[in-house]
Amino acid sequence: MSAEIRLEGVSRRFGPGTPAADAVDLVVPEGSFYGLLGPSGSGKTTLLRLVAGFETADAGRILIGGAPAEALPPERRDLGVVFQSYALFPNMSVAENVGFGLRARNLPRRERRARVEEALALVRLEGLGGRRPHALSGGQRQRVALARALAVRPRALLLDEPLSALDRALRAEMQVELRRIQREAGVTTLFVTHDQEEALTLSDRIGLLRDGRLVQEGPPRDVYRRPRTAWAARFLGEATVFEGTPAPGGLTLPDGARIRWSDAAPGAALAAIRPEDVTLLRPSDPVPDGWNALDAELEVSIFSGPTATHRLRRGDLALAALTKGGEGPAAAPGDRLILAWPPERTAPLEG
């Protein structure tokens, strides 16, 4: 039975300095995929370990399926954990690894065998049960770790950077696989990663963690489109951040230019835009009605196949624009261009 995970005011401190978890409130709805994203040292792994029961919280409550779990040892929390190192038992075959949790639950041999087969089929490793972990490829080990965690039909799945040890191509493939397997198993999943693209790709909801605090959360699209702070905007991808003075419906840059947004955000003095939302125009091109427009000097254009990134400068302000690889106005470094974007693409930020 899949279950909701709920953290209420969870704190954990490992000595002086920044706490690893600072009054974190977080809900992973039943059956959903929650991506916990943060730079290294932000406390994301600590949160996962607190849920798993490998660490004890200094304060706060951890509820799994509505029931308090703080007092339960890890073996009684009924969770599946996939570790960054996979932690496959080297002295056991693949089938013994996958069957470990079933044996610990004293299931009869026949049922154990059936459940191991089922779990291996789910991760598409049928017939590899007799292998030893060291005879498997990285991607296969990852799947065994997943099958082992799922074979016990846990109430929730906890994934600690499970893809970070894989190379790029395999990683992209496993992202798709991971999501398929999670949907098929219908299991509540808490996923920890430092890779923003991975979190955006996989998650139903993401939470941004910084210095032990959950600074923003929501569906990936919302958090990406409407970051709340400059830090969140930059951490989730590339962003141009404007700093100015509040003005009605937008802000005024120090050089007098106006940036407008469509949100109701009175008093905001910071705003961000994404490079892919910007259209590059020649000074002679007409700017669509109601759009923001800023002129800037092109510094460099970097062509990378499907896309090209353009870096521009306006006084002290560095700006970026992303176009399709073969598009955009023909321009050379030093040329003046207009960056234009609709006001609803401007994200006002908190200070």
Binding site: F83, S85, F100, A104
Partner: protein, 260 residues
């Protein structure tokens, strides 16, 4: 000198070192197979001294005493040493001090350790005898076991035990089914080490033995004092064979431990 010249010089040097280490042993082994009791040459092959050995009840009894004490030492020191290594690995307060305290006993001269043990055992009433020898050997062997098992523990992924716990295994089950099998090469190497430490031990045994009960090294020493016979060459050759086989096995297991 060219690079190759240096390499050859290095090889020659290594050869000389090994010759220095093994020549006396090789000569002794050869003489144990020489018919002459006075080391006369030419060499004349004979099993004579080994035949004599087969009839020497006293040496045999000493050998059995040595073997059972070594086996018991291996069993007890391995259990205690492994537990100590695991406890140290869990990182208790003062771990560094505890770890550091394990090494001096290896460096203290056996003569001193033996004297200290004799005095202490006399005070607490253990006295002398095979029991005292066993306790002494266990104390000597424990640091070696801790060292070897600790090396293996450092290669242990802490996530292994956590994975087992998260899958529903209790602390003890996780240790028994995951950690212990991983430690096995280190534990076996530690046991062999402990056996060798005990089997080869002379000074402590000499100090702690009751009159009439002797271990093999002590018996060999006594035999030499009485008058040297090539029979001693034969028994020494056997002892060296056993010890070297054990330590080669240790070397192999410890190396395996690093690889996996």
């Amino acid at each position: 000198m060219s690079g190759r010249g240096w390499r050859n010089a290095g090889r020659l040097w290594l050869g000389l070192v090994l010759l220095f280490l093994y020549l006396p042993i090789a000569v002794m082994a050869a003489m144990s197979l020489n018919a002459s009791p006075f080391y006369q040459l030419p060499f004349e092959f004979s099993w004579r001294w080994y035949d004599d050995l087969a009839g020497n009840r006293q040496l045999q009894r000493a050998a059995w005493t040595s073997i059972w004490i070594a086996l018991a030492t291996a069993a007890i020191a391995t259990a205690l040493g492994t537990a100590a290594a695991v406890a140290l690995h869990r990182g208790p307060r003062g771990r560094r001090v505890l770890e550091a305290l394990l090494f001096p006993p290896i460096a203290v001269p056996w003569l001193i350790t033996g004297t200290a043990m004799l005095v202490f055992f006399f005070l607490v009433g253990i006295g002398r005898g095979n029991g005292a020898v066993l306790v002494g050997h266990v104390a000597l062997a424990i640091p070696y076991v801790v060292l070897v098992v600790s090396a293996r523990l450092r290669a242990l992924d802490p996530a292994l035990e956590e994975a087992a716990r998260s899958l529903g295994a209790s602390r003890w089950t996780a240790f028994r089914r995951v950690t212990l099998p991983f430690l096995a090469p280190g534990v076996i190497a530690g046991a062999l080490f402990a056996f060798a430490v005990s089997f080869d031990q002379f000074v402590i045994s000499y100090f702690l033995q009751a009159p009439g009960q002797t271990t093999l090294p002590v018996e060999i020493y006594a035999a030499i004092r009485k008058g040297f016979t090539p029979e001693i060459n034969a028994v020494s050759t056997l002892v060296i064979g056993v010890s070297m086989a054990l330590l080669l096995l240790v070397a192999r297991l410890v190396r395996f431990g690093d690889l996996r």
